[in-house]
């Protein structure tokens, strides 16, 4: 099972580095950050923080856009270019195709994250003469887990929504919505009347809380890393959601009739 999935994942990763999107996002992030950074020449504490915040925000947006657009086009592209037919005619199951696509997108995101954070480390290293390796490691890891949930969700979406663009848009709105509002939903629910209150609580307790993977504030303010116990818990939390999304995707894909 893993051999087939990894072979397919290799194709997805190869696609990422042969396409231009990733480089465009990377260069944009670098240029915007450096342009903002060059506005001041003093090592003002506030300015450095502001710069870090901006750079991290750009990294979050870029990787989210990349993860969503990449995952959203995988299965529709296979159908459209009809590569799914010679592929499924080989001894590979539809479940392995889903898993391979997910792993490929997720590994590609991991590679992109490394590149982005290397730039971020260089930037902060130059400005602050400090490199909190452990904090950064935690941040990258959590970020990667978060992208895993998003990728799995988008792959499921690509089997539900007909158009890849609507899937990508909805996924982006949902992910950004959870990141921005996810932690406040229960407070909002508290002030609501029934039945909207119950509905909102149900949503609150079931959505993947992507915002818990976001430790940007700690990095911007040079706080110590979070407790390793909490950090370790985040991984199975992500794994559960990834598994749910991928199982649902397999269930749908196995029942799909693939013609024309």
């Amino acid at each position: 099972m893993m051999t087939n999935a990894m072979a397919l994942a290799g194709v997805v990763v190869r696609e990422m580095y042969r396409r231009k999107d990733f480089y465009v996002l990377l260069i944009l992030t670098v240029i915007i950050t450096l342009a903002m950074g060059s506005v001041n020449f003093f090592n003002d504490d506030k300015i450095v923080r502001y710069l870090k915040e901006l750079c991290l925000l750009l990294i979050w947006i870029s990787t989210l856009v990349m993860a969503i657009s990449m995952a959203a086009r995988q299965l529709p592209m296979e159908r459209e270019s009809r590569t799914i037919f010679p592929l499924l005619a080989k001894p590979i199951s539809r479940g392995e195709v889903i898993l391979g696509k997910f792993l490929g997108c997720w590994f590609a995101c991991g590679l992109a994250l490394l590149v982005f954070y290397v730039f971020f480390s260089v930037l902060t290293g130059v400005r602050e003469h400090d490199l909190p390796v452990l904090s950064y490691f935690q941040a990258i890891w959590l970020h990667w887990m978060m992208l895993g949930i998003v990728t799995a969700m988008v792959i499921l979406g690509s089997l539900i929504f007909a158009a890849p663009s609507s899937n990508a848009t909805i996924s982006f709105v949902v992910s950004a919505g959870i990141l921005l509002l996810g932690r406040h939903l229960n407070k909002v629910a508290l002030q609501m009347s029934e039945p909207s209150s119950t509905i909102l609580y149900t949503i609150y307790y079931n959505i993947p809380h992507l915002e818990i993977f976001d430790v940007r504030d700690l990095i911007v303010h040079n706080q110590p890393p979070i407790e390793w116990g909490w950090w370790a818990l985040a991984t199975p939390y992500a794994a559960v959601y990834i598994a749910i999304f991928l199982f649902a995707a397999c269930w749908i894909f196995k029942r799909k009739s693939l013609s024309a």
Binding site: V11, R82, T83, P86, A89, K90, S257
Partner: protein, 263 residues
């Protein structure tokens, strides 16, 4: 590498057909103003025996591709059944031993032929050292040596079709299912395909293919079936059909699908 139901103690004997389609019916729901049901395959039955080259003929829209899609498990039959190597196609079938060439396919545009074949070879679990040798062989077979390190997106239609052939024979399959293997190829390419089919036959393989080239079918096929609107119109040994109708295959084809010359 070769895991086959034949060796796994199934009730398969030498005389049992490699491919068997039994009263197959495939309907599509066509979303329109009101929902309609389109019958693509209508009570189709046929058998293909080991070592045969079998031509699957019919006009555009006759249901050839749809039938092949059922054989490979892409489309579930509405009713009826189909078996490959004695296994129902709704089961995870013995794909290890099948080579499939789809119609009108583009392969991963950003890969090179080598990379593509290496990817498929991994799925077939061909050991690394054997795989490289096999890739050389099939690339040579379809005459793409000059382009083996170029991304597929730069290829012409015929070159894409050649890659399709290369991937279909990569695993040295016992049953080949080709959907219009010569479409888009130049005369030399067509001759090459005929040669490949002939060679596969000499190696004892079974070939099941659709085509619109009657001359080609007449020269390479042992047996043919002609279908129209999802139904069998004629079936038999090529030599028998020619003797029975006293005309060439193209004329038989046109007569059976009810074509009247307008001039």
């Amino acid at each position: 590498m070769q895991h086959s139901p034949m060796h796994d103690g199934q009730r398969m004997t030498a005389s049992e057909p490699i491919l068997k389609i039994d009263n197959l019916r495939v309907e599509f729901r066509v979303a329109g103003l009101k929902e309609e049901v389109k019958v693509a395959v209508d009570g189709l039955s046929l058998t293909v025996n080991a070592g045969e080259v079998f031509g699957f003929l019919g006009p555009n829209g006759a249901g050839k591709t749809t039938t092949m899609n059922v054989l490979l498990g892409f489309v579930p039959p509405t009713s009826g059944s189909a078996y490959i190597f004695g296994t129902d196609v709704s089961q995870p079938i013995a794909r290890q031993r099948i080579g499939y060439l789809p119609e009108l396919t583009y392969y991963y545009r950003f890969l090179t032929p080598e990379e593509l074949l290496r990817f498929y070879g991994r799925i077939f679990r061909i050991p690394k050292d054997q795989l490289e040798k096999r890739i050389d062989e099939v690339i040579k077979l379809v005459e793409l040596e000059h382009a083996r390190k170029r991304q597929i997106k730069t290829f012409s239609k015929g070159m894409q079709q050649r890659i399709g052939l290369a991937q279909a024979v990569l695993n040295n399959p016992d049953l080949l299912i080709f959907d219009e293997p010569t479409s888009g190829l130049d005369p030399i390419g067509r001759m090459k395909v005929r040669e490949i089919i002939q060679r596969l036959k000499n190696e004892g393989k079974t070939v099941f293919f659709s085509s619109h080239e009657m001359g080609e079918v007449e020269t390479v096929c042992d047996r043919v079936v002609i279908i129209n609107q999802g139904k069998v119109r004629e079936e038999g040994q090529v030599t028998d059909l020619l003797a029975k109708h006293q005309m060439n295959l193209e004329q038989i084809f046109l007569k059976l699908i009810g074509y009247q010359a307008s001039v």
